[in-house]
Subunit: 829 residues, 2 copies
């Protein structure tokens, strides 16, 4: 069966399959599941038909609790019903899940598995949400990558219908739900063909119906409840066979080999990992490497987690296995071990295979990246006579010492010939969108396999985005960050200044492209010594491009992404240069035609310009021995709790190096309690253009301050004394208005807090403020700069007493004593 290929993420794959089998969708959005419901809603609005010939009826409720109730009620009325959720949303569905399972209703919950908030919220991926549902009576089916989501999601729907059991179909939040892969798609005809329409009819006939009424949801006393509860056993006993039956149907259609459990690796392995979800693909890469190097290791991939079939599990396990490591992507404090570990132990115990040593590891909580190095560490640990019974990977636990040591120079296990690229952008700057576009161009116009993963932070617009792109001739299994890149681009010069460790991810001989307005000298001045040494010692090719001025020049305003995308294609050479240009232009035409020819033209100009606008930076020889600047020491006055916390925790996090923090860094905040006021230290300086106050034109209307969403622009009214005590650079005007008579006015701008939104420029009634590239103005890390000048605690007790003018209540404060301390840099720059 030849299938069409399309680049899509796991959410779209699940939505695509689920739509086929869904009559009603009861939904409520929660990250990272929202796109599934969003797709279904859009397709329904477009009138797309499911395999029954009707569009899906989408019902959005007030919460996930309501969505679960909708699913329950709709199923009871005989409509095949689906929902999409995660995390706390899934938790709100638990009470209804017991009912849906107890009433043997064929609902399907597609879950992009996500962390449940504990000491802190975390919107990213792990299995703590789905594990909180394992006792509800739902069957649970897991997929490890986008293709598996496409291939296996039908099993959840089909087995639910035939097996009279609801399914929780899950895959890793973000890692799979948001990873774009080029996947082979189902034809709805095949999906329809596999559906047991007799079972569908039986379900409908059995549903609540006023024409032949029944009662459901009764109460049972202690005399009969237990017996009735046991009457469902057969359904669960038979379900594994039902699931297996549909997997076989799929295997016949696709030539795949899906089973309840799949074994991968040496048939005579002595060490085996048991795992579920996206880490399986990492393990496969590492297993290939190790077995190619004479070791004998393997992996059991768990697909049908509930019901857990001991027979099928034991059947796939090689007879030669001596040690097993079970990997759980969840943490259940106080338990003997995490759920999958306990299942494997129980299965082996029951099967009489207690000679096998079993250990359990936690990984990937809250989307912690789990690279091959972690997988190598697991197999290495299993070599020991007494491997750690409980361990963690991907972190350094220097408190309870559960973590396994991981090699920094672990082998590259990605498929040979895979090109890996990494882009550091700013949330909202278009980097992610451009990369999605690039991956689509490559995927659609070549035979190459593609993968794109986007690492967001929860700041959304204005946060850092890191795009991880791979493409190559072999299928791409690598569900982990790109750290051995052929090409790394830094789209925001402030990341250089802040010391983001971007260059270390460039392979020797690879390419590093920096978007900045700097001259070569300025660039050299801003580069940290550690980066310089890496570049020089690894023959990294450095290119500079000023997409900022270029974008403005061709009429793209601050939208630098098109220029940079074109530069990427020119430098990475994935496609013939001309073809790439044409594909990009075609895509731009398609996207922007509805906005008018001028926009299309600007995009085309930007594409042409970007292809040649970069220049090679000649790396000076002395970079090989560049010396680090002296570290910033805490002065006595700033050894406060907040300053310590900023130095030890927030500063590394702020420079995108939080992964390097060990567990000990969090012992004092194990309960998630932190010092207040840390945001005052977070001077990000991410705006590539910032407002500059032109006092010669200002009419003191304060509109610019009013629309500034980050309070970067603040008007001050000062007495003469206050004005005299202001920093030297302060420019002032005589304040206007009768109540401000005799006072001085200034509009203070804090460029390091500016996000570059340009709202201020748009509202200025006189003339647009002048824009100024800020990066030429600051020369050291914003954290160091700000924090060495004054401490916020001290500031708060001696802040200027004159209040900023308020637009909503245009009265002026009365004169007050001059401030005793220098103004903080966030108020006057």
């Amino acid at each position: 069966m030849a299938r069409k290929f399309k680049s899509m993420d796991g959410n779209e794959a699940a939505a695509y399959v689920s739509y086929a089998y869904t009559e009603v969708a009861g939904i409520y959005p929660i990250t990272p599941s929202s796109p599934m419901a969003d797709h279904v809603d859009q397709w329904a609005a477009q009138g797309r038909k499911n395999i029954f010939g009707t569009p899906v009826k989408v019902v959005e409720m007030e919460s996930e609790a309501g969505a679960a109730g909708t699913v329950h009620g709709s199923l009871g009325a005989g409509a095949l019903t689906t929902t999409y959720t995660a995390s706390q949303g899934l938790l709100l569905m638990i009470p209804n899940m017991y009912k849906i399972a107890g009433e043997q209703l064929p609902g399907v919950f597609h879950v992009s598995a996500r962390c449940v908030a504990s000491h802190a919220l975390n919107i990213f991926g792990d299995h703590s949400d789905v594990m909180a549902c394992r006792q509800t009576g739902f069957a649970m089916l897991a997929e490890g990558n986008v293709q598996e989501v496409m291939d296996l999601s039908p099993v959840a729907h089909l087995a639910a219908i035939e097996g009279k059991t609801p399914f929780l179909n899950f895959f890793d939040g973000f890692r799979t739900s948001h990873e774009i892969q080029k996947v082979a798609m189902w034809d709805y005809k095949d999906l329809a063909e596999m559906c047991d329409m007799d079972a569908v009819q039986a379900f409908r006939d059995h549903a609540l119906n006023p024409e032949h009424p029944h009662t459901r949801g009764s109460h049972e006393n202690g005399d009969i409840f237990f017996q009735n509860r046991e009457a469902c056993n057969k359904v669960y006993d038979e379900l594994p066979a039902v699931v297996e039956g549909y997997m076989k149907k799929i295997n016949e259609k696709l030539g795949t080999d899906y089973g309840l459990f799949n074994y991968y690796g040496a048939p005579d392995a002595d060490r085996v990992v048991v795992c579920m979800g996206s880490f399986c693909d990492v393990l496969e890469e590492v297993i290939d490497y190790l077995n190619a190097h004479g070791e004998k290791v393997g992996l059991v991939k768990v697909r049908l987690f509930r019901p857990f079939s001991i027979k099928h599990f034991v059947d796939v396990l090689p007879e030669t296995v001596k040690k097993i490591a079970v990997m759980d992507r969840t943490k259940e404090p106080g338990s003997i071990g995490e759920p999958l570990y306990q299942d494997v132990v129980s299965a082996l115990y029951e099967a009489g295979k207690t000679g096998i040593k079993v250990v359990g590891g936690r990984y990937g909580l809250g989307s912690k990246d789990t690279p091959p190095a972690s997988a190598f560490a697991v197999f290495e640990e299993l070599k020991k006579d007494e491997p750690k019974r409980e361990f963690t990977i991907g972190i350094v636990d220097d408190v309870t010492n559960l973590s396994l040591p991981e090699a920094e120079d672990a082998p590259n296990t990605a498929a040979p010939g895979t090109i890996e690229c990494k882009f550091w952008g700013l949330g909202g700057d278009g980097t992610v969108g451009a990369n999605k576009n690039s991956i689509k161009i490559i995927g659609d116009h070549t035979d190459k396999y593609v993968q794109a993963y986007f690492q967001y932070d929860s700041k959304k617009t204005g946060g850092v985005t890191v795009s991880h792109l791979r493409f190559g001739d072999s299928p791409i299994r690598s569900p982990y960050y790109v750290t051995k890149a052929d090409f790394v681009a830094c789209h925001n010069p402030s990341y250089i200044v802040k010391g983001f460790k971007m260059v270390r991810d460039v392979k020797p001989g690879g390419t590093f492209l920096v978007n900045c307005q700097w001259s070569d000298e300025e660039f050299a001045e801003h580069m940290p010594a550690v980066a310089k040494r890496y570049i020089a010692n690894n023959n990294v090719n450095v290119y500079l491009i000023d997409a900022i001025d270029l974008a403005a020049k061709v009429g793209m305003g601050k939208r630098t992404n098109t220029v940079l995308q074109s530069a990427f294609f020119a430098l990475a050479k994935v496609l013939p240069a001309e073809d790439a240009l044409q594909y990009m232009k075609d895509a731009a035409t398609k996207s922007y035609m509805k906005k008018g020819q001028a926009i299309v033209d600007a995009n085309h100009k930007a594409i042409d310009a970007g292809a040649t606008a970069f220049r090679k930076f000649e790396v000076p020889a002395d970079w090989a021995t560049a010396e680090d600047a002296a570290p910033i020491e805490l002065s006595e006055e700033t050894k406060s709790a907040i300053a310590q916390q900023v130095k030890n925790l927030l500063e590394p996090i702020d420079r995108m190096d939080g992964d390097s923090l060990p567990v000990s860094a969090f012992v004092d905040c194990a309960d998630g309690q932190f010092e207040l006021g840390a945001s005052a230290y977070e001077k990000r300086g991410v705006a590539v253009v910032v407002p500059h106050w032109d006092e010669t034109k200002c009419i003191q209307c304060n509109q610019c301050a009013y629309v500034c969403p980050h309070a970067t622009i603040r008007p001050f009214a000062m007495t003469e004394d206050e004005a005299a005590a202001a920093p030297e650079a302060t420019r002032t005007l005589d304040a206007m208005g009768p109540k401000a008579k005799g006072m001085k006015f200034t509009m203070a701008v804090s460029p390091l807090d500016c996000m570059g939104c340009t709202n201020c420029v748009k509202v200025c009634p006189k003339a647009p403020s002048r824009w100024f590239p800020p990066s030429r103005r600051w020369t050291s890390s914003p954290f160091g700069t700000t924090w060495s000048r004054t401490s916020p605690r001290r500031r708060s007790s001696s802040r200027p007493t004159s209040r900023a003018a308020s637009l909503s209540s245009p009265t002026w404060s009365s004169p007050a004593p001059a401030p005793a301390a220098p103004r903080p840099p966030m108020h006057v720059w």
Copy 2:
């Protein structure tokens, strides 16, 4: 330390202890936990002080989700906060539980563990609710009886504070929460003494406070979440020792031997059961019996379920153990085994004790009674070389054959000298209240230990209540139904007619008291043959009493319970007759003085009368060979699905014999879906007096029908033809009112549906309707009678077309053709 004794249930014991350590209670009521919150609320309103010298602040929210939020917020603000919940209520708290645990807040949830609704709702006890929380990070502490709830609940609060971990403190819903036991109480001084006030202060100092603000509830990205999540490990590693420390403190004060796990039984046992909750006491009884008979068996009682300490578990396990049965009071379909089973297997695997055979059993779901016979069956099964890996007890599973065979004649394992009594009452007739009063009298005025358990059904008022009372000189461990009673009372004659299997629970030589207005001949006529044979062959002493007429005579109206209580004391001879009379009178005086001397006098008269009003029934010799009546056969016309369901399921349930139904009876309704219309067959006939329409006085005001809550009284307007076709006994009047001119009127009464509330009598504006004892009118089972006459399905298609007069819209229906079929008995009697 000498402690005061008091008779109370588990809920009161938990409330009593929790009050001491609680500053704020965030509550929302749910059966069976509501009395805990209710006690706390009442005590707070009375100004009772906790050990910190303040009354508890009680906050009732809109749902358990809100209550959990209140607990979370209140703990965050530094108040020691508690809640009380169960079942779906607890499920609604799960999201907050992760947060409370993650933030290391010392909250305590007291949970009277209850079934979670699945195919049907069940408000009774099992562990499915608490097991749904085992992954949240809460510590979990279990108690098995009321004394343990009293003794160990302080551990939850104290260890939470010192150990920085919230506790879920649980005990069996109903079986422990509602069982009254005479228990030794804590003195609040001792509770205060055990409290680590430094830890309390540290908790308060660390709380959110505007004077020294901190931040909590932040978001963490994938870079640091995992490390921070691992920073809590030490807390959980250290918690078992903290719990053990407080158990030791308690042991020192009380002379007890509480541990994280407690072993009971032979030190060299070969077979051991692992269990949690009230079944432990049953097991202890059976273990005593078996070990006294040369076997070697034992029990591990799990107290600290989370964190599960493998070391402590293995330490209490005898070296000699060869086989273990783990008992779980929950069902997790699709899992390898239930949670405690998996924990025990994992613990043994990790401890290297895999030579022990481990099997797992489910029991007691939805308050299924688990008597000694079930415990014997478990130990018997463990004798086998290959005991069932998965089994059930307390039911007959003839579908998946998981149940163990249980002997009908299992030995009586209750403490020697225990007097056991059983009372069959009608919800709202005062039986339960009178028994609570009796147990209090015995408990407070003798050295005897007492136990009272009340088996309700979910019909509440009007349902069947069965009171199980025990008292004796030794502590009473028997948490199961009384089935070997010294004394059984039937407080409602309809139970005889319906064939409730009451007599079989009377020990040979025991006493059976029946409240009825019957003559000896009538009584003999109503008794089922099987009961007659049992009575004759087991020398059961039968007494009859007409408390119905007697209560009316002494001014107690339909309140028969006082008369019957007095008869109980006279017959059971627990106390000297004169003392018992005096204690009852004192209690009545105390209870009713506020209602006036007349009420008190009536009660005293009833007490005096009851003590002598019974008469001994001389059992005829031919009862030994009484022959059963022929079973009712389904006629062809009633072989409908509903009739089958009524016969096979509802009829046995209706005669309180649902326990005897095997799993196969539920295969067709495994999903909880039943035929509609079954209530038409449930002719209960529980009213001991019913209305009788006096047409000579009726003014056709219809008030009696209007106030009848069960639609037992229904006015009919009929055409002449309809009236002619009405059953022979129908009496009619000429209908009044201009619109009803020419029609006939009748007021039809269905005595079998009447609950005897007497509302109709109270509103009759002419003269009170005459009351008539219905039991003399029907001679066979109401089910048989009703069901053999007509089928509701047929009836519904041929029902009289004249509609009943509606009071709210006093129009009359137009004449219609006469009914084609006889009127169903529920409309015209």
